[in-house]
């Protein structure tokens, strides 16, 4: 029942946002593009979090996605938005599938730190390699859509919204399948899951790969909306931390949460930056602490509470 409501809400919200975006000023369109691009990666981390796993290294896949777009653009001149997105998701997904063979054997802090280690290897390689742009990174040319070069950002905004919608619906559907339902079961008791006849390793491997495909797609979309990639903003451990931050800010309650959380994060950061140029990190940190102390279920738990009260009336 609840999940159907989620799907309906997602469809309606996407429609409202796409129509509204046509009338919104440029900077709001930008905020939605950045927010929704990142939300894809958060969606993947949410699946992992529900399984009881937190990765402090998903900037690896986010960065792979972004750099796939950058390399395609600078070396091969590929500008089609769908090809770029596909490349980002596939490169990250393949890497995630291979690395998943190692990761599926680890839990807790070991899982988190092993991911960090791998992401920092990529960071080190990119920073030191001039042909990969070193610390300067690459500027990315504007994306085309089936050979057409749009004059405004609006078409890309619509595409990002629709990709986000599709991913949210797919993850929503996945979480309802038997394999999807194993997420919380694995978190609660792995041995029982094995006794039920499922392979925990396979289940985790699948979830890990899903999360890496989503993170790669997110990186690709982010690279296209920003028009720039560099290792500091795309692969460094601070980016992994940011992804975890937004996941906690959003809360694991629903596939809608990453989109709201990511958007809130983007707006919050913009205003923190504007109001306190010397202490904006302080505002972000205080927000993070507030969420952990008062809203451990993230923004979504607030929405649930408000919604719950309404229903009682």
């Amino acid at each position: 029942m609840f999940n159907d409501r989620t799907a309906k809400f997602l469809l309606l919200a996407a429609l409202v946002i796409c129509v509204g975006g046509a009338f919104a000023p440029n900077w709001i369109v930008n905020q939605f593009m950045f927010g929704f691009s990142r939300a894809l990666a958060i969606l993947g981390l949410m699946v992992l979090w529900r399984t009881g796993l937190v990765s402090f290294g998903h900037a690896f896949y986010f960065g792979l996605g972004a750099y796939a777009v950058a390399i395609l653009d600078s070396k091969l001149g590929v500008s089609d938005v769908f090809l770029r997105l596909l490349a980002g998701a596939v490169v990250a997904g393949v890497a995630g599938f291979l690395i998943g063979f190692i990761m599926r054997n680890y839990r807790d802090i070991f899982f988190a730190m092993l991911n960090t280690a791998i992401s920092m290897v990529l960071f080190g390689i990119v920073v030191k390699t001039e042909s990969l742009g070193s610390t300067d990174g690459f500027a990315i040319s504007a994306s085309t859509i089936f050979g057409l070069a749009p004059e405004t950002k609006y078409p890309l905004f619509v595409i990002i919204t629709l990709v986000g919608l599709t991913a949210a619906l797919a993850v929503n559907f996945y979480l309802k399948t038997t394999f999807g339902k194993l997420t919380t079961a694995i978190r609660d008791n792995e041995i029982r899951v094995e006794y039920l006849g499922f392979s925990v390793a396979h289940a985790i491997h699948l979830k890990y790969t899903i999360s890496t495909i989503l993170a790669g797609g997110a990186g690709a979309l982010m690279a296209m909306s920003l028009g720039q990639v560099d290792p500091e903003s795309m692969i460094n451990w601070t980016v992994s931390g940011e992804l975890v931050f937004v996941t906690i800010l959003s809360g694991p309650g629903n596939v809608i949460a990453p989109f709201i959380g990511s958007l809130v994060f983007e707006v919050l950061r913009t205003y923190a930056f504007e109001l306190a140029p010397q202490a904006w990190q302080l505002i972000m940190g205080a927000t993070f602490l507030t969420i952990i102390f008062f809203l451990p279920g993230g923004i979504w738990s607030l929405i649930e509470k408000l919604g719950g009260k309404k229903n009682e009336k």
């Binding site: 409501r5 309906k8 809400f9 309606l12 919200a13 409202v16 946002i17 509204g20 009338f23 919104a24 000023p25 440029n26 900077w27 709001i28 930008n30 950045f34 080190g124 920073v127 030191k128 001039e130 070193s134 610390t135 300067d136 990174g137 500027a139 920003l226 028009g227 720039q228 990639v229 560099d230 290792p231 500091e232 903003s233 795309m234 460094n236 707006v267 913009t270 930056f273 504007e274 140029p277 010397q278 904006w280 990190q281 919604g307 309404k310």
Partner: protein
């Protein structure tokens, strides 16, 4: 369901309303200038804060009409400017997002600043796309104007090639017996470019010297250079080139000095100027010190009214002499004033760009000629000196200061820096 939908729609409307409120047009008697600089992180103290101080001081003086002649008219084309400080940290991609916010959300009139080459490199195409009048103050990479023609972007100081060509020439003049040289540079574009230019120039002008095969490229912001210092102490080379800046620079000086590195080797510091006033007695004697042009400690004795005003006012307000970044940001703000004075306070981005393109102006410490990059890239002289602690006055000074004219250390218009050096620096007038 409908409730949720309504809430969503209301939320969207609210966000849009905030946006519209933020977008109210400015009156013509005031303008806003965004000034990005490092305000957080290791580069803030030695670099970002002095830069911001310089920009604010000059803006305030222009608003009050207190700059020495010929800039003693009030305001920017008559308009009072307010400075919006902005943090430059967090990587180029983040800066691109913030730049868009500056233009599309906060509707600033001009953007003047940026220290990091990576940021400038990333922002130049964005500025062109948004058609936003932008003056880069400090960043060094020559590629900004060599890779593409720009229409709205300017840089009011010389680029990194000048720093390293001048360093090599100074070395040739003062240390003609030098046999071999090595370098320690941060492993990113700035460090790699700096070393390449220095190395290539020495190959041209001192062909009998040899570069070490163990040049050091530690990670940027590493902060610990123990193993690199050991390796260089053992190296046969008698000279060390470094383009370290900010916190890394000071860490390297402290750690190298403790091990006597600068007693054994000649240290060439292309961005060393920022450390001169901050480190005091801890700065070793005998370092070859640059300030990325005629700024900071190198020009402390220049008697022009503009320079003396700059030094004395800065010392009065901030209690320390102005270093390079303060000069460079002040110079960029001054260029903005000149553009506004010429084009008028309500000028469009295009008119402002036309007003600044190709002009020559007298800045605080030097003459700035916007002759490169199609009139968008400044050419200035570049110089070096040797550090010495003046125990009578308890401060660092530089001796044997020598300046090279712009035509000597920068490639002629239209030529790529690396090709120019490799081709033997043809057309250089020294």
């Amino acid at each position: 369901m409908t409730n949720k939908l309504l809430k969503g729609a209301l939320g969207f409307a609210a966000v849009s309303a905030v946006a519209l409120a933020g977008g109210i047009a400015h009156a013509k008697d005031t303008i806003t200038i965004a000034v990005p600089s490092f305000l957080t992180g290791g580069a803030a103290g030695p670099f970002g804060i002095p830069a911001m101080n310089g920009a604010k001081m000059v803006t305030d003086a222009i608003n009050a009409g207190k700059l020495p002649a010929p800039y003693n008219t009030k305001g920017f084309g008559g308009a009072t400017a307010s400075v919006i400080p902005l943090d430059e940290g967090g990587g180029a991609t983040k800066q691109v997002a913030e730049y868009r916010n500056l233009v599309e959300k906060r509707n600033v009139d001009a953007i003047v600043g940026y220290i990091s080459s990576g940021n400038c490199q990333a922002l130049a195409p964005v500025a062109e796309e948004l058609k936003q009048f932008t003056i880069f103050a400090t960043c060094g990479t020559p590629r900004i104007f060599e890779e593409a023609a720009r229409k709205y972007v300017f840089r009011t100081m010389g680029h990194a090639t000048a720093d390293n060509v001048a360093a090599a020439m100074y070395v040739k003049e003062k240390f003609p017996d030098m046999k071999g040289y090595t370098g320690i540079n941060q492993n990113y574009a700035w460090g790699q470019d700096s070393w390449r230019d220095f190395d290539l120039t020495l190959q041209q002008i001192m062909p009998n010297t040899k570069a070490s095969d163990k040049t050091q490229f530690p990670k940027i912001f590493a902060g610990q250079y123990g193993s690199e210092i050991s390796a260089m102490s053992l190296d046969k080379a008698d000279l060390i080139h470094t383009s370290f800046w900010g916190g890394d620079l000071e860490a390297f000086i402290f750690q190298g000095n403790a091990r006597g590195l600068f007693k054994k080797k000649i240290g060439v510091f292309t961005v060393g100027g920022t450390a001169a006033y901050r480190l005091g007695k801890k700065l070793p004697n005998g370092l070859v010190l640059g300030a990325r042009g005629p700024y900071g400690i190198l020009v402390k004795d220049r008697p022009s009214a503009l320079n003396q005003w700059f030094i004395n006012t800065y010392k009065d307000i901030y209690g320390i002499y102005p270093s390079g970044p303060a000069y460079q940001y002040g110079q960029a703000i001054l260029a903005a004033k000149i553009a506004y004075d010429k084009a008028g306070s309500d000028a469009s981005n295009e008119q402002l760009a036309n007003a600044l393109r190709g002009i020559t102006f007298e800045s605080f410490s030097t003459t700035v000629e916007m002759t490169l990059g199609g009139g968008h890239q400044a050419a200035t002289e570049n110089g070096y000196g040797i550090t010495e602690y003046d125990s009578e006055n308890g401060e660092n000074v530089v001796k044997d200061v020598k300046f090279y004219p712009a035509s000597c250390v920068l490639p002629p218009e239209g030529q790529n820096s690396v090709d120019w050096i490799k081709g033997g620096m043809k057309g250089a007038k020294c």
